[in-house]
Amino acid sequence: MSAAEQLAVAPREATPAPLARRMRGLSDRAIAWLFIAPTMLLLLAINIFPLIWTVRLSFTNFRANRPNAEVVGVGIDHYVSILTDPDIWGPMQATAHFLFWTITLQTLIGFTLAYLIDRKFRGHGFWTTLILIPMMLSPAVVGNFWAFIYQPQIGLFNYAVSFFTGIPPSSFEMLGSVKLAPWAIIIVDTWMWTPYVMLICLAGLRSIPDYIYEAAEVDRASAWRQFWSITLPMVLPFIMLAVLFRGIENFKMFDLVNLLTNGGPGSTTEVVSITLKREAFEKWRTGYSSALAIILFVAVFGLANIYVKALNAVKNR
């Protein structure tokens, strides 16, 4: 027996006989399952199980602050009371307002920036990196420091506005007034997430091959015409993708709103996730809030599915 053969045989012989017999009985597929199992178990435990548990709770009158109270099934009562409650439209409208303006602003600014950066001016890499910084910060940090900046007496925002317009700085409160509070949150969200839209648009713009533009040049198409007939149609799927991501994220926007206004003043900035938090952790109506969470989940899921259909239609055009 040569040295190489010995080496090849060694691991097989080194495995204890019973284990080897057992292992040899396993098919490749079984081994694959064995390796995937931990991840699947973890995902089931932390993703799927809570979801199913929420569905279960939404049919009961369970309250998380009274764990020993008797849990009674109430059927679909919670769903009925949420869907027939006229007050639920307040948060829904706040969410829609927030969603509409953040997406519009972010898409417009993000696409414009991406278009300008795609021109590859001097040092564009450096400036792109700088623009991306807000996106990398934790929402908790962003919320806290914008609350500091919006502070009416000493905040930078009021000072800057009064510096440029001459309005006395303490005459308005970004977070405290009914009119301005939604806009304060829209500004912060736009500030934070425009780079994200920009990044996706930039990827789209970079993916357009140069030869299409060259062909257009040969056909003597104007720059305007090139933009409308080449750039925009080819980037549209990417823009729509960015809108989808931002839409889903902002529909359940919680962190920034919670830190900046916590739904206030009154309930002017109370988006649905804040309502959810108030029901679940201030009124402790766990069953009711579970039902609301399920309704929101179904709404987002349905809207996103419709949207993806539209996206695919645009892609295949």
């Binding site: 623009i131 930078l156 425009t194």
Partner: protein, 108 residues
């Protein structure tokens, strides 16, 4: 255009960075100070102090070991290990003192 946007978006960030190295009176002054004497007091307190309570308040707390040694106290805490509260408090006070020293040396 891009440069202008980048500069404007960076203003809040730079502001927070500046505020992080301001002394407490500077950070809440009006009009906002752009030129100031930097101090690392904030960072000192962040890494050395684990409580916002003053040293006097912590000292005024009743000695915890007396309460914990009462019969039945262990059951109140779920029957586990008795809480090591006095040691933790002493540590806190020590942290507090070192924080003071730190900020004093920083301003010096």
């Amino acid at each position: 255009m891009v440069v202008l946007y980048a500069l404007i978006t960076l203003v809040p960030l730079v502001w927070i960075l500046l505020t992080s190295i301001k002394s407490p009176p500077d950070s809440i002054s009006y009009p906002p100070k752009v030129v100031f004497e930097p101090s690392i007091e904030g960072y000192c307190n962040l890494f050395t102090t684990r409580s916002r309570q003053t040293e006097e308040y912590i000292k005024s707390l009743p000695p915890a070991d007396r309460r914990l040694r009462q019969p039945g106290a262990a059951q109140q805490h779920g029957g586990g290990q008795p809480l090591e509260l006095p040691a933790a408090l002493r540590q806190l006070a020590d942290h507090r003192r070192s924080a003071r020293r730190c900020s004093r040396s920083a301003s010096a």
